[in-house]
Point group: C2
Chain length 306, copies 2
């Protein structure tokens, strides 16, 4: 299976349009050694020809344009794309708005939990994805039920896991009671290799650690260094855990919980602009790397061969 | 008044993610002389310090990042922006989705017709712009009623004009009967200078020509060269006029109607990826330039001094 990270920042990107924190200002004026990042987005391919998007970030148009693998074939029909499906792990705007960038009358399969589907399809904007018969084909996905977005090759499949957490604050409706459908992680298996994708990680119970230890590579929520990071950046902001992100540092944080994993290569994604690890000269950056983690960056890719 | 075009393509941008037309493929492989463009977006400033966005394109995050004028002040508070307001001319997704990129708890004034406001605020996604008291302040704007998005300087103001056309197909609700609130053009006046911004032009009656002739610069819908351009590009596509865009060529087209204007500098924007004028070596490109038009490009700017 091939995987490419098209975006590795949290909502708002890095730098963030209205942010003058030391990371954002330092990146703009060159005084901080750091790399600009678009909002978290990944793409996978089992056969190297068809691609599935993992979520659909608001930066998706720009991200597709920068990925030659995802360009239409010049000798194909006048409208074509190697992107055949999108797998949604949540209904948060920074994971779904990009679907509306894919509205140019293009047939697509969209995999999500029934609750996420209900939240999105009850939104009038999504009528723009249903202007042609068969334009968008929504497919139900439930935690613990494996599926394959393409014709399965080498026994390839995607296994969703309920990660805890909750639906985004804009969402309402009866389905929002189905909390196990709110936030999923994906274990992607092909040719005996496994990778896990969890750009939002609300908690890290032992059962999850066991699954992650069975993987060759894991891509994990690196939103915040500390629980009160947003609160220190501006007034009236929530804590990291309140909005579904286990912080990296501190008691029960991601580093403490996950750094003991032995098998997987460990990559952080969905890194918020306020996170000190973005400053490549910071002690926090040194600390995550010393604990065996890599920072994902836009364009990071891997061909995980059988 | 200063104006900067941050994006000059129609919905989907140029190249478009799923398009292999001669323009898009030619731009990708370098065989066509053309320039990539993001989706139509402009910004104006009366005082050089505060900026108003004209519409909010899906590419807005990227467009703000590329415009140094719109960056937060490094020595300001940790969250700040020179962008104080957004003026919406329609409810189409390619004019409004960018509002959802501005959701980082930032106070903003949003100017639109009551109908456009109703369509957007009834959409659950827009709850993300109302998480703090006073975060988004919606201000009603009606055709023929001038307003100023900032403290008026030099008698500066914005005068909206109803352009005809209709609401986007996703929109519903009682307000969609108010057709004069569907698509507006903006006449922006400052220090005795006038400019007009009309990224969607459904028709060009004599009354509009008179207004445009009073301007120093006009920015006009350049979506399509011919009425059947989309229909020739792919199956099941609408005609240009059906979706609210007067084509440039042909009987009653924009060139025939507007090229006789004497006073204004004439700039095309909102140019669709299929439009042959994007190929800088095409006869159509030569024809629009011979008729006195410029092609707007991302980064085009003008300081229109009194």
């Amino acid at each position: 299976v091939r995987i490419k990270l098209l975006g590795t920042a949290a909502g708002g990107g890095f730098p963030q349009w209205n942010c003058a924190c030391s990371n954002c200002s330092g990146l703009r004026d060159g005084s901080v050694r750091a790399t600009a990042r678009t909002q978290a987005q990944a793409a996978i391919s089992f056969d190297g020809a068809h691609w599935s998007l993992l979520n659909a970030s608001p930066d998706l148009r720009n991200q597709i344009e920068r990925a030659p693998e995802l360009a239409p074939h010049a000798n194909g029909t006048s409208r074509n794309t190697p992107i055949s499906s999108v797998v949604l792990t949540a209904a948060d705007l920074d994971h779904v708005l990009g679907l509306l960038a894919l509205r140019e009358f293009q047939p697509l399969r969209i995999y999500s939990t029934p609750a996420v589907q209900q939240i999105l399809r009850s939104n009038s904007f999504f009528r723009m994805l249903e202007r042609l018969t068969g334009q968008s084909r929504w497919v139900d996905v439930l935690p613990e039920q494996s599926f394959s977005p393409e014709v399965p090759a080498n026994g390839s499949s995607i296994h969703p896991i309920a990660l805890g957490g909750k639906f985004p604050s804009y969402a309402s409706g009866p389905m929002t009671a189905e909390l196990d459908q709110a936030v999923m992680g994906l274990v992607i298996e092909s040719g005996g290799k496994r990778l896990a994708y969890a750009p939002a990680l609300p908690e890290a119970p032992d059962s999850l650690l066991q699954i992650l230890e069975s993987c060759d590579v894991i891509f994990i929520d690196g939103s915040f260094w500390s629980d009160d990071e947003l609160q220190r950046s501006a007034a009236n902001m929530p804590a990291a855990r309140e909005i579904g992100h286990l912080p990296l540092s501190g008691n029960g944080g991601t580093l403490e919980r996950l750094s003991g994993l032995k098998r997987p290569r460990k990559v952080l994604t969905h890194i918020n602009n306020t996170n000190p690890i973005l400053n490549e000269d910071s002690p926090e950056n040194a600390q995550v790397r010393a604990a065996g983690w890599e920072l994902g960056y836009d364009g990071w890719e891997l061909d995980l061969k059988a």
